[in-house]
């Protein structure tokens, strides 16, 4: 598979703060690559250096084997985490404005259908809802039919329905053989969308691989949860089970043996549920704090 982006020894410092600390990775063509980490991990700084928006203190980014330069802007699409659009322009006028910036663009009809913009094409940018605004920003990122689309926390602040609609849009983009670079702190989002993830904390890479690989590598147990009122505290202490927020969390590699033990102790199984570990759990295990901290 072809390598689209290579990041080598990338470091970014702001005075005495090291936002990104000597990281290395590569992104394959057609993949959805997830940069994961809590707020302040260095995700946005990393992605903005890759986009050519800010300069690295040290290290380099290569795009198809060549150092990034200004010509790259014709071939990439970007959706920033925080960006405003020009007031008083309608969605259609905003599309026209951005179309004028590029040599090669996607026909508007195609873009409107892909990003589901038809209902609010004549609406002033100021009057768009959060989801509509993100869809317009995505359309602007796709307007030049880019090889790579950078999406920086595109679903932050959206309601669950709008998030899921947006995931579908990203899946549609992936289906067009685009390479997607996505930063997020939603682990369900990364598990849904990403072929490859890199987890960062304090500017450093702490894990890298496909979501399944990482989970298999770091976990061979599952979690069983029961209402705390049903389990005597002596039994929890004896078996080192955690009691969290009215729930008992049992970590086990053998679900059958644990269920047998609970039945033997005459514990009611009402309200029992079993959960496989996810990337959130992985992050907790690797860093000792939650991704949403």
């Amino acid at each position: 598979m072809q390598e689209v982006i290579r990041v080598e020894n990338l470091t970014k410092s702001y005075k005495d703060i090291i936002a990104v600390d000597n990281i290395n990775f590569a992104i394959q063509k057609g993949h959805c690559f997830g940069l994961l980490g809590p707020n302040g991990a260095g995700k946005t700084t990393t992605i903005e250096i890759m986009e050519g928006i800010i300069k690295a203190t040290k290290g380099e980014v290569f795009y198809y084997g060549k150092p990034i330069d200004e010509s790259m802007s014709q071939q990439i699409g970007i959706q920033f985490q925080h960006t405003a659009l020009q007031d008083f322009l309608t969605v259609k006028e905003t599309l026209n404005l951005f179309t004028s910036f590029y040599q090669h663009t996607v026909p508007h009809d195609e873009l409107i259908e892909l990003c589901d913009l038809s209902e609010f094409l004549d609406r002033d940018n100021r009057l768009l809802s959060g989801g509509q605004r993100q869809r317009l920003l995505l359309a602007l990122a796709l307007i030049n039919d880019p090889d790579i689309v950078f999406l920086d926390e595109p679903t932050t602040g959206l309601d669950p329905q709008a998030r899921r609609n947006f995931w579908q849009l990203i899946k549609n983009i992936k289906a067009r053989d685009k390479t997607v670079v996505l930063t997020t702190h939603y682990m369900d989002e990364a598990q849904q969308l990403c072929d490859d993830v890199l987890i960062m904390d304090h500017g450093q890479v702490i894990a890298r691989g496909t979501p399944r690989q990482l989970l298999n590598q770091h976990f061979d147990e599952v979690f069983i949860y029961l209402p705390a009122a049903q389990v005597p505290s002596e039994l929890c202490q004896k078996n080192h089970w955690q009691v969290n927020e009215q729930q008992v969390e049992i970590t086990t590699t053998d679900v059958e043996a644990t269920i047998t033990l609970l039945l033997k102790e005459q514990i009611s199984l009402t309200g029992l549920h079993v959960k496989s570990p996810n990337l959130d759990d992985l992050f907790l295990k690797l860093t000792g704090h939650s991704l949403r901290d």
Partner: protein, 334 residues
């Protein structure tokens, strides 16, 4: 320079401006209200001191010259002094040698100073200035339009760019192939169009009611106006070249605009002001815009006559533009 990108940004900025009704309304109504107000409240220029021109002041002796709250300006040529009186630069002209004095019938200040003068020199021959009378509203017109252009240019460019920078519109544009030159030029041309369009509408509209005095050519007036607006826009670009803070830019723009409002001859002539003030005022673009426009309107000056003001404006524009382009930053670092 890609003209398709450039014109797209010009168009987008113009749409943004003309759809912002509150801003558009203010830009149109403010100068009209000022002109209407001043035409009714004739002495609304806030001057505390009246100015009296005296021919050969050094050889003149009179108790009138000791009157408080009057300033006396020496003239050697009668013709020049009479022009100054007609242009409202001075309020009365006296020749103690020939025992004559001149008044401007269109000036309320001239009327008041004459009353004071007659207390001590009742026998002097009274002469009224000849030709079409220049009202105060005619004299103040270039100042008010110039001041409105100044605010529109400085705040309309400076504040907008800083706002774009702060809310990441600039960052989004930087991520496209749009170059800094294309962006900055588009802002400049867009604002120039807006300012000239609005100033023309205000001038033409008010002219229907006020029938403004105009001795020179409208083309020459348009040239000095466009050059003045250009230099003020480039000053706005320079002030906004790097900052991300709306508070800071507000302060810097006020720092740039207030000296011009006070010292560029908007409200009162700098005739008789200390030399240091005149030298300082010469470094302000609005001074040259207002002085040039006023000479065209009240003296019928041609472009050749105001070539000093034109060349200063060209030089200032070149310096501001070069510095602004050199210092301009998308400032996308967080």
């Amino acid at each position: 320079m890609n003209f398709s990108r450039f014109f797209a940004v010009v168009k987008a900025r113009n749409i943004e401006f003309f759809r912002d009704r509150s801003s558009l309304g203010w830009n149109l109504i403010f100068p009209i209200l000022m002109l209407v107000g001043l035409s009714f409240i004739f002495s609304g220029d806030g001057r505390a001191v009246y100015k009296v021109g005296v021919l050969n002041l050094g050889q003149s002796q009179s108790t009138f010259l000791e009157t408080k709250y009057l300033s006396f300006i020496d003239y050697q040529e009668t013709a020049l002094a009479k022009v100054k009186l007609e242009q409202h630069s001075i309020d009365l002209l006296v020749d103690f040698n020939t025992q004559q004095y001149w008044v401007n019938q269109g000036s309320p200040n001239s009327y008041l100073v004459e009353k004071i003068f007659l207390n001590s020199h009742e026998s002097y021959q009274r002469i009224e200035t000849q030709g079409k009378k220049i009202r105060y509203v005619d004299w103040v017109l270039p100042g008010i339009l110039g001041m409105n252009m100044m605010f529109s240019c400085l705040f309309g460019v400076g504040y907008v760019i800083v706002r774009y920078r702060k809310n990441a519109v600039l960052k989004r544009l930087k991520a496209t192939p749009l170059s800094a030159l294309e962006f900055v030029s588009a802002q400049l041309v867009s604002r120039l169009f807006i300012v000239m369009f609005l100033s023309s509408v205000v001038y033409i509209g008010c002219n229907l009611f006020f029938d403004f005095y105009m001795l020179g050519s409208y083309f020459d007036l348009f040239v000095i106006a466009i050059l003045g607006a250009f230099s003020l826009i480039t000053l706005g670009l320079l002030v906004a070249s790097r900052s991300k803070s709306e508070e800071l830019i507000g302060g810097l723009l006020n720092l740039s605009s207030w000296p011009m409002m006070l010292l560029s001859g908007v409200w009162f002539s700098l005739e008789g002001a200390p030399n240091a003030v005149k030298v300082f005022a010469d470094f302000l673009p609005l001074t040259h815009l207002v002085a040039g426009a006023r000479k065209i309107i009240t003296e019928g000056a041609t472009l050749a006559d105001i070539s000093y003001h034109l060349s200063i404006l060209v030089a200032m524009s070149a310096v501001f533009l070069a510095l602004g382009a050199y210092l301009f930053s998308w400032n996308t670092e967080r």
